[in-house]
């Protein structure tokens, strides 16, 4: 179950036996991947909510987080959790820099302009990583002893449980932050109406930076989790998860925080069911098909997005 970049492979997708345990297994695998997509989708949605901008480089922040953690762990004997926080930190700092350099000077221009700038940033970061770290896959330097539990014919690794739990924890923290802290409320106010927020004494620029900081840190965390799950880190690893997470954000409703979470989980499950029952060669196409259908049928998304 390796996810190989643009999936250069020749799987013919042998028809799988229709068994209940297989269905459960696919749903479970899907929830694990989906919780990670949801974390990236949160970054898209928060940034879209506040700037009306699709941050194309979100997948590259995911990649940066994974690389920072993997490199730190391979060169220094540090605690895993320290390395995890370090990876999130690197992604966060990169996200804030990105906003400063590539987006802030262009604020207020035609929406096309920051969009192309984001594409430029994405390709810049991706090819920079390729130059610095080479195209080869890197395995995760720390091996975990995760037990595989067998319940009703379904095998659950405790790694999957850990990823799911960690993702849920981060989402819960984000929801609490947005709802109950002063900064969180200020972000929501800025997203609703920048001018009014400014009149209320909110430093809009700082809130935008903070949004990029949080969104990027979450994407970084997602990258680290996937680097552990698939045991691989490479420069183009962010491309497909970025695309899928965007589809998840649209599915849930762009600009809607709970929507991103629901969208991510549904997308992860749909993708794994598609791979299991249709053809694994086209697993990566499922997210895209969902995106097109949502845009055709319900562009607001399941939970309703905010238009900008």
């Amino acid at each position: 179950m390796m996810e190989g970049g643009l999936a250069r492979r020749w799987e013919t997708g042998a028809a799988a036996p229709l068994a209940r345990s297989m269905l459960l297994q696919q749903i479970l695998n899907g929830l694990t991947a989906g919780s990670v997509y949801a974390l990236i989708a949160l970054g898209y949605t928060m940034i879209y909510g506040i700037l009306g901008l699709i941050n194309f480089a979100q997948g590259e922040l995911y990649m940066a987080g994974a690389f920072a953690t993997v490199l730190l762990l391979s060169f220094y004997q540090v605690n895993f959790f320290v390395a995890f926080l370090f990876g999130m930190g690197v992604a966060a700092v990169l996200g804030v820099l990105l906003e400063r350099i590539a987006f802030r000077p262009l604020r207020g221009s035609h929406p096309l302009v920051p969009l192309i700038s984001a594409i430029g940033a994405s390709i810049f970061l991706q090819s920079l990583a390729l130059l610095l770290f080479g195209p080869a896959d890197r395995s995760f330097p720390v091996q975990f002893d995760f037990a595989a539990l067998e319940i009703a014919g379904v095998s659950i690794s405790s790694l999957q449980v850990a990823i799911f739990a960690a993702a849920l924890l981060l989402m819960a923290l984000l929801m609490l932050f947005v709802k109950y802290t002063k900064f969180g409320k200020a972000i929501m106010a800025t997203a609703l109406d920048q001018d009014t927020a400014r009149l209320m004494g909110i430093n809009v620029d700082r809130m935008i930076s903070l949004t990029f900081l949080i969104g990027s840190a979450l994407s970084g965390a997602a990258g680290i989790m996937m680097a552990i799950y698939y045991n691989t880190t490479y420069p183009r690893m962010g491309l497909l998860p970025g695309l899928k997470a965007f589809s998840a954000a649209v599915l849930g409703g762009v600009g809607n925080i709970p929507g991103a979470i629901v969208g991510g989980l549904i997308l992860g499950v749909a993708e794994n069911l598609g791979a299991g029952y249709l053809s694994s060669g086209y697993k990566d196409a499922v997210a895209f098909a969902i995106l097109i259908v949502v845009l055709l049928v319900r562009p607001k998304g399941l939970l309703g997005g905010r238009s900008h």
Binding site: R8, L112, V113, I119, Q126, S127, S247, D284, L296
Partner: protein, 296 residues
């Protein structure tokens, strides 16, 4: 040496068609397509497959390639361009990934190895295996397309498109069907990219999915931004410059993508109108700077 120069000019010509067609989308729909290379690839594969399996002559396989690419453009444009948000970039990016997956997985497309022995065009009894004749063919296509687009931009429809570009809401109030225009332009652009693909396949005679990936889409985008968004002449210059420069700096090939990424951002910040952008579009694209300064 002459052979080499002719080769460069043929490739430049193909990129000029691609850049012009992407510029239609950017300059007149205010949207970005990141799947332009996928339309290019669809055209190349359609043309190659029909020529190999059905022995279809070039005069038929070329328009067929353009029409098929255009149909895919229509299919993508309808769900995305009706919406005002800039979803097109990500939908076309996804489309590019899917086309790549399909080309890699289907048996008929030859998977990662692609197709070989694509026949050169037979037209008017001329020998298109010669680079001289092929470069003339490409030049004729470029001139035809530039002429066509020039006429389009300066027609009644061109004025409608400019109105949409400059202020969509006002255009709609004036009774212009903005969604229909955008979808039509996107379809036309996809068709032109398919046409370029057909010309490429019959020139190079072997194709594989690598030539039609995201890298190529980004390259075309950089050409458009460098030349000037919304400027036809700019796209011609941008495409020529970015085809010739990498040939001169072969040693730095590894740094190409990093340079393109940095170039896109730098251009948008310091020269959003590109090398040759003029008139209202440059004012419009540079508008942001003045405003940002006021705020900052």
């Amino acid at each position: 040496m002459t052979e080499y120069l002719l080769h460069i000019s043929i490739i430049s010509g193909l990129y000029i068609i691609l850049a012009l067609s992407l510029n239609l989308i950017i300059g007149y729909c205010g949207q970005v397509s990141l799947g332009h290379a996928a339309f290019y690839g669809l055209g190349a594969y359609t043309s190659a497959l029909t020529a190999i399996h059905w022995q279809l002559p070039f005069v038929l396989s070329l328009p067929l390639a353009a029409v098929l690419a255009a149909l895919f453009g229509l299919g993508l444009g309808i769900p995305t361009l009706r919406l005002k948000d800039d979803y097109l970039a990500i939908v076309t990016l996804g489309f590019g990934v899917i086309v790549d997956l399909i080309l890699l997985n289907l048996e008929i497309t030859g998977g990662p190895d692609g197709l070989t022995r694509i026949p050169p065009p037979s037209l008017l009894g001329l020998d298109f295996r010669s680079k001289v004749w092929y470069s003339l063919l490409v030049a004729a296509a470029v001139l035809l397309i530039v002429g066509l687009l020039y006429r389009l931009v300066h027609s009644r429809h061109g004025r409608a498109l400019k109105a949409i570009r400059d202020h969509e809401m006002t255009a709609r109030v004036m009774g212009i069907n903005t969604a229909a225009y955008k979808i039509a332009i996107f379809t036309l652009a996809a068709g032109l990219a398919g046409l370029a693909g057909s010309l490429y396949a019959h020139y190079i005679t072997f194709i594989n999915p690598e030539s039609f990936g995201l890298h190529t889409s980004i390259l075309i985008l950089t050409m458009v931004v460098l030349g000037g968004m919304g400027s036809l002449l700019g796209s011609v210059v941008g495409a020529a410059v970015l085809t010739i420069l990498p040939e001169m700096f072969r040693r730095f090939a590894d740094y190409q993508d990093v340079a393109y990424g940095a170039m896109l951002i730098a251009l948008l910040i310091w020269r959003p109108q590109g090398l040759l952008g003029v008139g209202s579009i440059s004012q419009k694209f540079s508008l942001g700077r003045g405003k940002a300064k006021k705020e900052g």
